[in-house]
């Protein structure tokens, strides 16, 4: 197990490097740069050169990247070109918001998606087809649109939840929960559909296997055949898909945070992108990539636990 984790962490280093380098190169290619954005209407070339020098933008790209990279190793992500605030502080402020959103959504997706998929695989027939239909629609609804509909219905018309905004858990746990209900629903629907479909498909596949027939033929009850053997065997593909769904949530969180005005990493990404705030963008990309690496790692460890072939020599 330790070897698996170690290997995975090692294997994720190239991903971190590649993504941060890519961000650097792409940002460097960008027509505008941060200096222009800061100066705004001021087109004085002297002032421009001065700002560029202050930001280190006049140095060669490789040097800039090396500077950033050595900083990262020391735990220094640099500062925002606008506010001068350390990137680690900015990201640190926003991380809890995004983690709340992602964590709750992951829980909801796992519970509801698995539940719906199980019901479909057990009951089949009309219930199964109905769930299939709901799943297809759930997968196909554009997240921003779904969010708007939720706002119109539940926040504006019924006034059950706040329209937008975020309350920190430490300030008021109840308001924290309320402020996250609609965003979590909006972010979860697609994932629930994908996971439900996968659970149902995987179980249908497993139920057709020879060992299920053999277990039934030797008098094992539903409790054992379905809830011990079939679910264990169906879990492997589901866990892998769940990992992919979680990574997809990172993208979705950007839209949802923008829509519900949640001050998280997603919103920060959009602002940094629009403002060419390279250090902040790098910090966000780094943060997202680490999240991805963690998700992949957990997925791999669980898959390993589920496969005896992977752990027995």
């Amino acid at each position: 197990m330790a070897r698996l984790v170690g290997g995975r962490v090692l294997w994720s280093l190239p991903l971190l490097l590649a993504l941060s380098a890519l961000t650097f190169v792409l940002a460097w290619l960008t027509p505008g740069d941060a200096a222009r954005t800061i100066l705004g209407t001021n087109t004085d070339p002297v002032a421009y050169a001065e700002v560029r020098a202050r930001l280190g933008l006049d140095r060669p790209l490789v040097e800039q990247y090396w500077h950033w990279l050595t900083g990262v190793v020391r735990g220094d992500l640099g500062g925002s070109v606008f506010t001068g605030e350390p990137v680690s502080a900015i990201v640190g402020d926003r991380l809890p918001v995004t983690l709340s959103l992602l964590g709750l959504s992951a829980l909801v997706i796992a519970a509801v998606g698995t539940g719906i998929g199980l019901v479909g695989a057990l009951r089949g027939g009309l219930a199964g087809r109905l769930l299939d239909g709901v799943a297809v629609v759930g997968m196909s609804v554009p997240a921003p649109w779904l969010g708007l509909v939720l706002i119109v219905v539940f926040a504006v018309d019924l006034a059950l939840f706040p329209v937008t905004g975020y309350v920190a858990f430490a300030d008021a746990p109840a308001d924290w929960a309320l402020s996250l209900v609609l965003p979590v629903v909006c972010l979860s629907v697609g994932g629930i559909a994908v996971v439900a479909k996968q659970v149902r498909g995987a179980l249908a596949d497993v139920l057709g296997r020879g060992y299920i027939r053999a277990l039934r033929a030797n008098g094992m009850p539903t409790r054992s055949v379905v809830f011990r053997h079939a679910t264990r065997n169906a879990a492997l593909p589901v866990v892998n898909v769940f990992g992919v769904v979680l990574i997809g949530l990172l993208g979705g969180s950007i839209v949802v945070e923008q829509l519900f005005a949640l001050p998280g990493l997603g919103q920060l990404t959009v602002t940094a992108t629009a403002q060419h705030d390279l250090p902040v963008l790098e910090g966000v990309v780094l943060c997202f990539t680490i999240l991805v690496v963690v998700v992949n790692l957990v997925t791999d460890v669980i898959s390993g636990k589920l496969t005896p072939r992977a752990v027995t020599p």
Binding site: M139, V141, P144, R232, Q258, L306
Partner: protein, 634 residues
């Protein structure tokens, strides 16, 4: 198609693609999806000629709902929404098309090369795919859009590259599977080069999975495009795009919520069409998919109700007039009778498709989904099982009737050790404690003559050879101490030496426990070795039921006689084997009269006139023939 081109192989991939198209066209849902996508693309292409310009403002009618002038209403500047949706579709669909083109080309080429060539290329491609799949796609898209502001083509090309990893994986897996197919080996031996084999044999086989995945990706690409447009990172206003329209609608959720309907609706319906199309293609091209996915409830075998059953017989198992129908109503077993006395070994013999496996599955109520069982009686141990509920039937299986199947390794759960599976069975059947069950499990493993039971108990099924796995299966079947064991082709997948050991084991277990045996087999040698009586099946019926010594010495039914004669073991080496004309009639195509009449050398007009009844002679041997062979001799 002309006779000539049918054999030249011209347009072979076109044919495979045509197969997918034909299969989709046969399903109404597929037709609806294709129609929606086709009409949408057409309408978007013709948007310039249809109705008003997307930029034409009508400030008199700002935020109007649907009206005769504006079918889908207007936006904040009074622009016609229908026109904006169609023009927006040109942008949105085009960039989605770009993403798909990149996705398909990269994914298919990389997947084919990796899967067919294997080796180093495969390892590199697989690693690359891992890397791309674990990258946060939307974050990368944002970085790209930071560099190329509002350049959706660049963003969607990136999306195509990122998502191609998933397709490459699917194509690679299919290519590896196809590569091992004998028909590809035959093509290699036939002298075809790699490119020809890829185009002729591998591409058609991956077409189904590719199309099905690509439709799903198309749906999600559409959603990503809409999200980017909504975030204001996509095509710049006033040029319409679907995501931009949703952003416009978001500004008006208080004044005119209606705007949400056409803008989000077109994206959602199109994405739904893509997703459904993907499912339809998957179902149409995957021969394992049988319409409805399997569900636990559908696996329960339904018993056809009858007003009265036959009184229970004295035998351990007594089956009368057993009929099994598949989900589509086709009969596969038709009026089968047989009895098994306590301790007796009965061989159910016949060629493939004659219904022998279906007959025993009917007795156990373990038929394929949707199939039904019907009989005058299935009495086991003095109890009519047809009246039992599924829950009661679960109690009969295992404790009354044990079962072992043809593929011993596949009949063990790959995720549990042999010991776990046996302990579970023992505890369920006997209610023993974990410690007792563990001891009993080791006892069972020793009883099936596995050396070192403790070591075997610690193994997983894939660590067992076929013979060992079959012994473990037998041990599990014995856990409930059944009075009858049904063994369905238990040695067909095994080597002859292992087969002999398993048959000896079954014989030994019977003599020790007094357990009866129903052995389903196509091998006359196995019948001769193990069974006391032989029940010969043909086309869903029992054609002969007699003692084993007699069936070999003096077969009554002409089919039994012909089948024994066709066995090379009984023939003079090098001689021509006597053969039967024609083939076994398939279920659903059984003749009214004698089902063997068409192939029988002794057929008379009365044979084909009406169904033939079974008759039994003085010695109790049953045959379903008007002119029994041995009967004629005696």
């Amino acid at each position: 198609m002309s006779a000539g081109s049918a054999v030249t192989g011209v347009g072979s991939t076109g044919r495979a693609g045509g197969g997918v198209v034909r299969a989709v066209a046969r399903r109404p849902l597929g037709v609806v999806c294709v129609a929606w996508l086709g009409l949408l693309v057409l309408a978007c292409l013709l948007a310039g000629w249809l109705g008003s310009s997307p930029q034409e403002q009508d400030l008199e009618a700002v935020y109007s709902g649907p009206s005769a002038a504006h079918w889908l209403g207007t936006d904040q500047l009074g622009r016609d929404l229908l026109s904006r949706v169609l023009h927006g579709g040109r942008v949105s669909l085009l960039v989605v098309g770009v993403a798909l083109a990149v996705h398909v080309v990269l994914g298919v080429v990389l997947g084919l090369v990796a899967g067919y060539r294997r080796g180093l290329v495969d390892r590199i491609v697989s690693r690359l795919a891992d890397l791309l799949l674990s990258a946060p796609a939307v974050v990368i898209l944002l970085v790209v859009l930071a560099v190329f502001p509002h350049n959706e083509a660049a963003a969607m090309t990136t999306l195509g590259v990122l998502s191609s990893a998933g397709l490459a994986r699917v194509v690679r897996a299919s290519a590896i599977r196809v590569r091992e197919e004998p028909y590809v080996a035959a093509a290699t031996v036939a002298g075809l080069g790699t490119v020809r084999i890829l185009v002729r044999h591998v591409l058609p086989a991956v077409a189904g999975p590719v199309i099905s995945l690509v439709s799903l990706v198309a749906g999600s690409a559409l959603l990503v495009e809409a999200s980017l447009g909504f975030l204001g990172l996509g095509t710049q206003p006033p040029e319409p795009s679907w995501g931009g329209l949703i952003a416009d609608a978001s500004q008006a959720i208080y004044r005119q919520p209606w705007m949400l309907v056409p803008t989000g609706g077109v994206v959602a319906v199109t994405a739904v069409a893509c997703a459904l199309l993907g499912d339809v293609v998957r179902d149409a091209t995957d021969d394992r998919a049988t319409g409805e996915p399997l569900s636990w409830r559908r696996m329960r075998t339904r018993v056809v109700a009858r007003e009265s059953r036959e009184p229970a017989a004295l035998c351990l198992l007594s089956v009368r007039d057993l009929t099994v129908r598949l989900a589509d109503g086709t009969p596969v077993v038709d009026g089968v009778d047989f009895d098994v006395a306590a301790g007796q070994a009965l061989g159910l013999v016949g060629e493939s498709g004659c219904g022998k496996t279906m007959a025993v599955s009917g007795v156990l109520r373990l038929l394929p989904p949707g199939a039904t069982v019907d009989a005058a009686t299935i009495t086991f141990d003095g109890r009519e099982t047809l009246g039992l509920t599924e829950r009661e039937m679960v109690g009969v299986r295992g404790r009354g009737i044990g079962y072992i199947g043809q593929d011993p390794v596949a009949s063990l759960d790959p995720l549990f050790t042999v010991g776990d599976q046996l302990v579970e069975a023992v505890r369920h059947h006997t209610g023993a404690t974990r410690r007792q069950a563990r001891a009993k499990a080791l006892e069972l493993l020793a009883a099936v003559r596995l050396p070192d039971p403790a070591a075997v108990a610690a193994r997983y099924p894939h660590e067992l050879s076929g013979g060992m796995a079959q012994r473990v299966s037998i041990a599990r079947a014995l856990a409930g101490e059944p009075r009858l064991l049904i063994a369905d082709e238990p040695t067909t997948a095994l080597d002859v030496t292992v087969q002999a050991e398993i048959l000896d084991l079954l014989r030994d277990l019977r003599s020790r426990t007094g357990m009866a045996l129903v052995l389903v087999t196509h091998d006359w040698g196995v019948v001769a070795d193990t069974c006391d009586t032989a029940v010969v099946m043909y086309a869903g019926q029992v054609v002969e039921n007699t003692g084993v010594a007699e069936v070999f010495a003096a077969p009554r039914h002409p089919y039994t006689e012909a089948l024994l004669a066709a066995n090379p073991a009984a023939a003079e080496p090098g001689s021509r084997l006597p053969v039967l004309p024609g083939a076994v009639p398939a279920p659903g195509h059984w003749p009214t009269g004698c089902r063997f009449a068409l192939r029988c050398p002794h057929v008379t007009t009365e044979c084909v006139a009406a169904p033939i009844q079974s008759t039994s002679d003085t010695a109790g041997a049953v045959s379903r023939c008007l002119h029994p062979r041995a009967g004629a001799r005696t």
